[in-house]
Amino acid sequence: MDEAGNPGRETHQKEPLAAFSGGGNLGDQVFRVLTAFFAALAVLVLAAMALQMFRAALPSLKQFGWKFLSSTDWDPVLDSYGALPYIFGTVASSILALLVALPVALGTAIYLAELAPLWVRRPLGILVELLAAIPSVIYGLWGIFVMSPWLRDSVQPLLQKIFGWTPFFKGVPRGFGMMAGCLVLAIMILPTIASVSRDVLLAVPNSIREGALALGATRWEMVRKAVLPCAKNGILGAVILGLGRALGETMAVTMVIGNRPDISWSLFSPGHSLASVIANEYAEASGDLYLSALTELGLILFGVTLLLNILARVLIWRVARGPAGARN
């Protein structure tokens, strides 16, 4: 079974010795099957999640069909549900967050992997990763009491003064709303994109860098013309990974986005998202169809993030092979 692997590790116990090793060999078999079982459990959980959520969402799927995606009703009293405002809020806030986070994250990744002096790479890298370690609810807390008031009092009036004529900055500056949601999301996905991109860049073989440098390229030319072309698919993967994280992010968003299922062009108006409506209403959902509709929202979220993550991983794995062993 291990032909693909490291031959040096396995050769010791192939056939010729089997006659001598007796019990040990049985122990190996047992141990191997045991650990394989637990490894498989991870896959089973993922499959069970898909299955269970699909089953729980079935009543809603049957009742509303495709209309669920395009309807803007969300009325527990009349038992009529549609997901459009939530899908809109999720997609809009995530894409805006991506636009905000992307330049910063790429700049960070390039600096950390290519341009920084060697001695600052590790400490700065750890700081960026710590940004990812701070729990979502903390960003939410900070968003409520620090960021939103700041947006309301300083940023939004200014934006309105300058860009008030566009549809994006209309309405009363409230602080809470789409803009706060997408900013807090941007902060949260930034370290994901930055650190995965950095790892992808580091996986580009050194010989590529030296080849470019030896031709007299500057460091920046080396990055732009030799390293980035090698890494571009992996970086795309990192971006998709960040997008997936933004779509599913819950607490920080629900705490600042305003939680009203409106569809509006204005960044100042409140919005809602798939994850935040689930967080807000799941515990109190009375009625089977209500719960089922909420589960269907979860299923949509699950399906989309699953696909995005599969895509992202395929892209990243092609550049930077996942397991360390396969790299040698």
Partner: protein, 280 residues
């Protein structure tokens, strides 16, 4: 030399530009940590750690319920999730260079990106609906599932750093492979395992969304696993969105405690082992 000056300028611009991006990226870190300390430090007191929440309207009280609840939830999640994750990681590191191993690895990578709230929905159907009530057990199962991909992948990567020569030394002594793994690989890789465990705990200790409808919350210290249980992050959320000044103060204090815990675990995990992939 044509364009030499221009090229040099671009090079320098790129360096400073990307450094500026790093600084921008770190602004939120500094801002969040700064505000947490500034607003949270005042709320931390003996009562905060030892007392139960006071009824609405009365000031004072503490978060003993949430602290104990978080400890129980995370501990129980560890009991369920860590053995599965560690054994799975051993498989991936030691036997996993085949199609099955690749598949598992891929699934765990994908699983790490699935929103935690959907895991909550899964466990709601699996545990909460069957038991007909929110429970600590459901919360712990949720956290255990969330731990799984982190423990598996981190531990695997770090076990792979144990040199092949050590394994071969064990095998050459006539030990069967499983004894080599348990005796040599795990002992040498102990720091790697500790790292994986700590990162996983740090990750789930701050998890909020799925707990809202699995463990729910409780204002009392309880040891009953079939009853709702409070937790630090959920209480921070509840207090933060409440209209009461005193609760806000406590939310900041709780947030400070939580962040210190999570960051300490993260830093410790990095001190113990160099993370694979960070720097050369």
């Amino acid at each position: 030399m044509p364009g030499y000056f221009r090229r040099k300028t671009f090079d320098i611009l790129a360096r400073w530009g990307s450094l500026a991006m790093v600084m921008v990226a770190l602004v939120p870190l500094v801002a969040v940590l700064g505000y947490l300390t500034y607003k949270g430090i005042g709320g931390i007191s003996w009562a905060f750690f030892t007392q139960l929440p006071k009824p609405v309207g009365e000031t004072g009280g503490g978060m003993a319920n949430a602290l104990s609840g978080s400890a129980i939830l995370v501990g129980l999640a560890g009991l369920i999730g860590l053995p599965v994750g560690l054994l799975g990681a051993i498989y991936l590191a030691e036997y996993g260079d085949n199609a099955f191993g690749k598949g598992v690895r891929f699934c765990t990578d994908v699983m790490a990106g699935i929103p935690s709230i959907t895991v909550g929905i899964f466990v709601y159907g699996l545990v909460v609906l069957r038991m007909r009530r929110f429970s600590a057990l459901a919360g712990a199962v949720t956290l255990a599932i969330l731990m799984l991909p982190i423990v598996m992948r981190t531990t695997e990567e770090l076990l792979r750093l144990v040199p092949v020569t050590l394994r071969e030394a064990g095998l050459a002594l006539g030990l069967p492979k499983w004894r080599v793994i348990l005796g040599v690989v795990l002992r040498t890789g102990a720091s790697g395992i500790a790292t994986g465990v700590m990162l996983a705990i740090a990750r789930v200790a701050g998890e909020t969304a799925p707990l809202l409808f699995t463990a729910f919350g409780s204002r009392f210290i309880s040891l009953k696993l079939d009853q709702p249980m409070g937790s630090l992050p959920v209480q921070i959320y509840t207090y933060a969105v409440s209209p009461y000044e005193d609760w806000h103060r406590q939310a900041w204090a709780a947030a400070l405690v939580l962040v210190l815990l999570v960051l300490a675990l993260n830093l410790l995990a990095r001190v113990i082992t160099r993370q694979p992939g960070s720097g050369r």
